[in-house]
């Protein structure tokens, strides 16, 4: 017999069961899609961090920085050059061109080490126009579009440039930023000749910051990417459950075919090769579809992720996806690997079965009592391990590890729990049909358990993440109300205007709260130090987590400072610890405040102390306390008097709205992934019910023979599905809450640095329950219709033909 005929015989199975084929392919495609979609988003974001680091931060090179955050005098650069060091100056800052704020990076192209010159500044004449007045801005195409016509400077567009940033000449940067003779950092080229005087001797006030293997942004965003990966993996695992069950069924159903083929002389090896080839074919086909859908998913989600990253971490990620070959390859690889893993058990069984073993399909997937006990043991071990991780391990990975073990353990436990429940119900019922209903449900359980496990995971993830996001939102909104106490926020355009503004405001408002901050490095971390005035607003509203008595007096006097929660947790600070804030400024930590949505550590100090130690601190922004009914008047007076553009005056409501919008965008992706996961679970349910309905004739035929109509049989089937679904849903609630707790109390603390109270939202559960119910009903619909329309002869055949 030729290979070809054998292959045709094997494949004919799928022709007879297109729905099964559909379930297999769509399960595989969906699993691949979610996995590769998430990978694509991660890859895009990581690539853009790497690009940002390479382009903007002269990544890979050490820098000289001022440890207290003060500007570096330009003379330090000249001094180092004249001592033979190959160094190059950089001055960075924010500058507004029209209405667009750009991060301007002033460089000296003549001394910038060649290895960092990733952006092409053009030919010789472009270069000359870069360094000579009026100067050139090197920007990305998008940024160029935004600021065209807003500046008299020449624009040079470079694809390698990042959005929102511009390279300009160092001299121009000093002029625009009004920082004549100042530098932010000094880049140290890689190859220095031997025998130079050490930097520590030449510039003792500066410190060397070694190149980081991981950029700040990468570090900050790690949690988000881990989060996405975890979701992608969850969806992938759920998808593989479908593949596993479908392949298992297809193998069982084809046993007669296998036997026949073997009897006709097809060797076991050849049969295995054929089956493998068949699986590989499916994997490649479904993988291609999956990668394509994944691309679609990623391009739909990426703008949201980009917005999140921008809002939460200030990381610039393009909203469009580029096709990366490594991503295609990994998509196919994961589809193939997933297929092989899911079919390994079936293939092994095929290899072991004796040639002439009975070709009768065993009730597929029916696990023995021993197997179930093993499963329970594994579940207990996983849950215990999860608990141990939560108790004794630290770090984000441990947090996610605990989550994974918790979910997997609970899923493994589910069949045993459901079986116990059904046994109990069976014992409690007395009517024959009812007893049969429960007993039959229990008999069906092994076949459905994989789908139910998938459903449990999807529901629990929804409940858990939903609870986390909602708790976060509630806390965040309450916190915003406290934090944004001033009625109006105003920003002057320069220091002169700020002086006039302060004088003018003195008589017009209840109090003026300066919002002044400097960037500094504290305990080796990039930090912000905020200066605050002594004002009842803070005493009344500022959200403190812990604090010494008289905390605000201590802050006002300059001896004490407040730190934000993330810095407090990260550094394991205690009240009373001392911090070095500047070269001659040590202060005591007197309190901790919550500061959601801020990736950086922050310190709040008395404004006078801040100005003493950082005389150059910008004093452009102010919060204004006015009676609410005067806000509109003050606003129009401000713009009349100072000609301030609208975007320089924000009222509380607008600011809150803006913050909420950022917040909501942040969890848009999570919500979308939740829905996808639920969809995959519904598909799993559907494919399992479908397979079961085909195998259940021997069980249903006797019941039909006793007089139960096909319609009633179908109703009973529906009822049974709903009971199982409801039981799973109820089981998912505590699991979801446990998940939420781990997210709030462990993962968030590690990832963001803040711990949130947990709130319960039963209304959301009802909504989720309804969505899941709809999914269950849809998934049971086709099998039921088939049952209801079954020809009586088919049922009779069960008795006539024992197969």
């Amino acid at each position: 017999m030729t290979m070809w005929i054998a292959a045709t015989a094997l494949l004919s199975h799928w022709r007879r069961r297109p729905l099964q084929l559909g379930a297999l392919l769509s399960g595989l495609a969906l699993a691949t899609a979610l996995w590769s979609g998430v990978q694509a988003i991660n890859a895009e974001a990581r690539a853009s961090y790497a690009r940002a680091a390479a382009v903007l931060d002269q990544n890979g090179l050490a820098h000289l920085v001022s440890p207290n955050g003060r500007a570096i005098p330009q003379s330090a650069f000249v001094w180092l050059r004249r001592a033979g060091w190959k160094v190059s100056p950089v001055l960075e800052g924010e500058y507004r061109f029209g209405t667009t704020r750009l991060r301007v990076i002033g460089i000296d192209p003549l001394t910038m080490p060649a290895e960092t010159q990733t952006v092409d500044l053009g030919n010789d004449e472009d270069l000359l126009s870069f360094i000579t007045p009026p100067g050139t801005l090197v920007v990305s195409p998008e940024t160029a579009e935004k600021i065209r016509g807003q500046t008299g400077l020449a624009l040079r567009v470079s694809d390698r440039m990042l959005d929102g940033a511009a390279f300009i000449d160092i001299g121009l940067a000093q002029r625009l930023l009004r920082r004549d003779g100042e530098l932010s950092r000094i880049v140290i080229a890689e190859n220095q000749r031997p025998g130079l005087e050490p930097l520590g001797k030449l510039v003792p006030t500066l410190s060397v910051r070694e190149p980081n293997a991981q950029t700040d942004v990468e570090h900050l965003t790690e949690s988000l990417h881990l989060n996405l990966t975890a979701f992608g993996f969850l969806a992938f695992a759920v998808g593989l459950l479908i593949v596993y069950s479908t392949i298992g069924l297809a193998f069982e159903q084809r046993r007669p075919t296998f036997r026949t083929l073997r009897c006709l002389g097809v060797s076991l090896r050849r049969l295995a090769v054929l089956l493998l080839a068949e699986l590989a074919l499916f994997a490649v086909a479904a993988g291609a579809v999956g990668v394509a859908i994944g691309y679609l998913v990623a391009s739909l989600l990426l703008p949201g992720v980009a917005a999140t990253l921008e809002g939460l971490y200030g990381a610039s990620v393009p909203g469009t996806l580029s096709l990366r070959p490594e991503w295609w390859v990994s998509g196919f690889a994961i589809a193939l690997a997933g297929t092989l893993v899911s079919s390994a058990q079936s293939l092994m069984r095929l290899m072991r079965v004796p040639l002439l073993a009975a070709a009768q399909p065993q009730a597929w997937g029916r696990s023995s009592e021993k197997g179930r006990r093993l499963q329970v043991l594994a579940a207990a071990a996983l849950l215990a391990f999860s608990g141990a991780l939560l108790l004794w391990a630290d770090g984000l990975q441990a947090g996610f590890g605990a989550l994974g073990c918790l979910l997997l353990g609970a899923a493994l436990l589910l069949p045993a729990v459901l079986s116990g429940f059904l046994t109990l119900m069976q014992r409690m019922s007395s009517r024959a049909l009812v007893t049969w209903f429960w007993a039959d449900a229990r008999q069906q359980l092994p076949g459905l358990s994989l789908a139910l496990m998938a459903l449990l995971l999807a529901l629990a993830a929804n409940v858990g993440v939903g609870t986390m996001v909602s708790s976060f939102r509630l806390t965040f909104v309450g916190w915003l109300d406290q934090r944004l106490a001033a009625e109006l926020y105003v920003a002057a355009r320069n220091e002169g205007e700020a002086d006039r503004l302060r004088a003018w405001l003195a008589t017009k408002v209840e109090s003026v709260l300066p919002i002044s901050s400097v960037d500094a490095e504290i305990r080796g971390q990039p930090m912000q130090i905020f200066g605050v005035v002594d004002d009842p607003t803070y005493r009344k509203h500022w959200p403190l987590i812990v604090g010494m008595p008289n905390v605000w007096d201590r802050v006002a006097s300059g001896e004490g400072v407040l730190v934000n929660e993330q810095f407090w947790r990260r550094e394991r600070l205690r009240i009373g610890d001392r911090l070095d804030l500047a070269s001659e400024w040590k202060a005591t930590v007197v309190g901790v405040y919550s500061d959601y949505g801020n990736p950086k550590g922050q310190v709040m100090a008395g404004i006078n102390a801040l100005i003493t130690h950082y005389p150059h601190v910008s004093r452009l922004r102010y919060g204004l306390r006015v009676p609410p009914d005067q806000v509109a008047d003050l606003r129009s007076n401000l713009s009349d008097e100072f000609g301030l553009p609208a975007e320089n005056i924000l009222d509380q409501a607008a600011l809150k709205e803006q913050s909420r919008r950022i917040f909501d965008r942040t969890f848009l992706v999570t919500g979308a992934l939740n829905i996808f996961t639920l969809g995959v679970a519904a598909l799993a349910m559907f494919s399992s019910l479908l397979t079961l309905s085909e195998m259940r004739l021997p069980q249903l035929a006797p019941v039909w023979a006793t007089g139960v109509t096909r319609r009633d049989l179908a109703l009973i089937e529906l009822l049974r599905t709903l009971v199982l679904w409801l039981a799973t849903f109820i089981a998912a609630l505590p699991l979801g809450l446990a998940l939420a707790w781990v997210l709030l109390a462990v993962v968030n603390v590690e990832a963001f640095g803040w711990r949130l109270p947990m709130y319960i939202f039963p209304y959301e559960w009802v909504r989720l329950g309804l969505v899941a119910l709809a999914a269950a009903v849809v998934s049971v619909f086709i099998p039921l219709r088939r049952l209801a329309g079954l020809a009586p002869s088919e049922l009779l055949k069960v008795f006539a033909n024992e197969r």
Partner: protein, 357 residues
Amino acid sequence: MSVRSIAIAFAVTTMASLSASQAAYQGFAGLGSAAEGFSVPQPGRPFRFPADHGPHPDFRIEWWYLTANLEAPDGTHYGAQWTLFRSALAPREATGWSSPQLWMGHAAVTTSEDHFVAERISRGGVGQAGVVAEPFSAWIDDWQMKGRATPGADQLAELSLTATADEFGYELRLSATGPLVPQGDKGYSLKSAKGQASYYYSQPFYAVSGSLSLPTGDIAVTGKAWLDREWSSQPLAEDQTGWDWFSLHLDTGEKLMGFRLRDEGEGFTSATWITADGRPDALPAGALKIVPVRTANVAGRQIPVSWNIQIPSRGFDVTTQPLNEQAWMSTSIPYWEGPIAFKGTVGGRGYLEMTGY
């Protein structure tokens, strides 16, 4: 963007005199030839020292160019070069990064086997590179030519000179044994029949001692050095493609500076005969005759490395040989610059510079 391209920009805008090829020159002729608000050398302007040792920002280009013929105690010959070029994008000076002055340094050490080259580029105005007339100091990064003379004395009479690069370096002390020598017509040096000219004076009488740092180790050296100071705004005529330039220390104690600017015709030659006590005799145009004797393949080009130099009116007829015929300056603007020895009616050593090949 690369340092290289800015150096090329540097070269093309202003250093037309050193431009490597006719094509490049013509391509940027608009930038290279017109004076564009820059001052133009005029005959009859006397030098004012020490001010003229310093920069002249209203002229487009300027250099401080030192070449030294050196000898180790074992009789091995070496050459050393230290050059600081100034190039102005606009005829003014300003402090800070807005200064339109660009600076470029070249340093080289030549042995019979090797030719080490290094280059530095910097912007003016911030102190990374510059020249101060008194007390004299010319520097770019850690390379420096520093006057050691007392105030009031000739600031170029005593110099210390340092340059260090990855592979090589040197520290030399220079003492002038003769006066500064104006070239051309009292310092007004014609560069073409069409009137292109520069201000040009030299200090050809340095006695040198110091040490070279080479990959093989440090070597103590002594010898003779020659400093050229020159500034202009349009040093070449449009049809001139490059030059061959000689500075010769004759065994008699006399010195000879001679050059030929090449064009499509005969070329333009000029020479100054300097007596042992430093009196210049500017020879009339055409008095100097130079003819290539032998060419060699250097950096993919045919370059005359041996020359016959004749000044019939002085009975001078010598043939030069390079210490190392591969003395190629692989800098942003590449050119040949290296020590030579000559024999004939008189012997001696000197330096040869050839551009535009």
